[in-house]
Symmetry: C2
Subunit: 346 residues, 2 copies
DNA sequence: TTGTACGCGTTATCAT
DNA sequence: ATGATAACGCGTACAA
């Protein structure tokens, strides 16, 4: 009964390898744990036989006793948005190299992070969780995910924000957007822009509200009028229509600061292909993120760059550190931004 | 000792819930299994207390006994390519609705699907595996993944192909590319194209070789010259450079059939912004996939569409069926393609 | 409907 | 360096 079962393919277990190699089951376990002490020659023999039998330790069984699932949960609203897909790609690569697998969860696009999902997710016991959606209360998330390390990506004014959301107890990544925004506004001003519009992203997005706040602040500091704020949602289509509205119903603008690159593309296409305006001749456009598409010749977008590699490195650093020393004090990683000048301003 | 441990947060277990609700641990288990028989009122009380205690059944422990991990592995070379990120998004959404979580694994871009990854992956015991990389031998994959259901996406001439790769033992999805390609070639011919170039994708990609083969075949059937084949790799930058080569070093073409939409964008930008040729005036361009970017006004690409929703539905169907009836005969799902006419031909 | 006993595959503990 | 034993948290057969 326990010797043979009728499943088509019977998965090799440590016991099978042990029997085949004439060692104890424990020795097999140790062979797969580099730290365990085992006579090298014995380990080699075991690993060889394991390979022949196509044996791999079962992570589920292992996690049951080690309390480490080697799973990292990622919560995303849209896998197919260029920025996020890039980030998922880079994170998955980096984590895979460290022995962690990516567990992907999708939340509804309206950012309603329902408890259902978190409960569901918790069943998998991820060692860590990366939340891209910035509108989750730390308390909610950490309450649900015992073993997990919530990592929050917040923007500027980190300390003030942390205090407000009582998030200072958690590891977090701070993106200093102001630097890049200042450079962008300076460039726009230098080329004579007077009436700047801000093409917003999703209302609930923290990145968006912070971008709007900082742009307003920087414009004021430079003696310029406050931005005309046009609502959007980070998508091409919405940006396209919003730009048409701005110029047909509204009073237009001589510069558009978009909340991300994709929205900038929508604005550019509306200006050029429907409003017959020239970019940057009639209207200057600046984006945010610097996704690969931004250097495509049809757009050649001037944009505020967030360095993806740096960002991913910082995140992985936070995760690994928290995993190694669970009791350590919360750590803050900081990331700066800078303007990448291409052809849509000037 | 087993009553209290010193971990900061102690995960609620079925035992704890049972104690709190004054029921047996088994009752808790049953409360979470809809099929199990349990007095409704009792179940409700248990579920309520479970919610209060923030309890979720541990999937790892559960999978150990049920032999179902509720994990679906996805193997991708590039998360950030538009088509794949779309597909990952849709699949994750669909699978999540069915109670499965997506486990993401990245393979090297050169398609070298190394056994290391598969071994690593097998440790997680995914219930099913979707391989986007089309160059994995079924035998290799199935040998490594006992519990998994390899799903292969192959193109046209399914039976011939199946026989050649001895893949007929597995579930598979067949994409009939010929229909869309025929429509595209007819359109090109109708608008006077005579010299058609095929801008290739990754050499190892099965989709690519099949596309080239079918285009050649269709051109012949319509009495047109064979295509000028230009090597590429599905990326914008390579397509851009390849197009420059084609017109500066080579003899040019009056129509370019790109292996995917992104490559088509690269070709269009090279033609318009560097070679000062008009699209579609001087050169007509057709893509493949119909990603969201294809309707962006700057490109407005005529392209062969593969319906993503249909494709994902078919894949999920295959997976769920195989999970429910492991012994069932291999099933073939078929998908057709059609031309979406926009502004780059004619 | 409910409870008992056991096993899933692995590692930790404590021996030797 | 190695081996025996006891967990880890859960589902299932079986009995009640």
């Amino acid at each position: 009964m326990s010797e043979r079962n009728d499943r088509k393919v019977t998965r090799a277990t440590a016991d099978l390898v042990a029997r085949e190699a004439n060692v104890s089951r424990i020795a097999v376990s140790r062979a797969f744990n580099p730290n365990a002490s085992l006579k090298p020659e014995k380990r080699d023999r075991i690993l060889k036989i394991a390979r022949e039998l196509n044996y791999t330790p079962d992570m589920a069984a292992r996690s049951l006793v080690t309390r480490r699932s080697h799973l990292v949960g990622m919560i995303v609203p849209d896998v197919c948005s260029p920025w996020e897909s890039q980030e998922i790609d880079a994170l998955t690569t980096a984590l895979q190299a460290e022995g962690f697998a990516t567990l992907l969860f999708k939340v509804k696009a309206d950012f309603s992070m329902d408890q259902t999902l978190l409960t569901y997710m918790r069943g998998f016991n991820p060692d860590s969780v990366i939340a891209f959606t910035e509108n989750v209360e730390p308390a909610v998330l950490s309450g649900f995910l015992d073993r997990a390390v919530p990592v929050y990506i917040i923007y500027d004014d980190a300390e003030e924000f942390a205090a407000k959301r009582s998030t200072s107890l958690y590891d977090r990544l701070v993106v200093r957007q102001k630097e890049g925004i200042e450079q962008a506004v300076a460039l726009l001003q230098g080329y004579g822009a007077r009436r700047v519009a801000y093409l917003g992203g999703k209302r609930q997005s923290l990145a968006n509200t912070e971008r709007e706040r900082i742009i307003t602040q920087v414009l004021a500091e430079r003696g310029m009028a406050p931005p005309v704020v046009v609502p959007g949602d980070y998508t091409y289509d919405t940006a396209y229509r919003a730009t048409l509205d701005l110029f047909r119903v509204g009073d237009g603008a001589d510069a558009i600061f978009a909340s991300n690159d994709v929205a900038a593309f929508g604005a550019i296409d509306a200006l050029r292909h429907e409003l017959s305006l020239s970019v940057p001749g009639d209207v200057k456009v600046v984006g945010f993120d610097d996704i690969p598409q931004s250097h495509w010749k049809s757009y050649n977008l001037t944009t505020v760059r967030i360095d993806l590699a740096d960002r991913v490195r910082a995140l992985v650093r936070l995760i690994l550190r928290r995993l190694k020393t669970p009791g350590a004090d919360p750590l803050v990683e900081t990331l700066s931004t800078r303007l990448v000048v291409r052809g849509t301003v000037g």
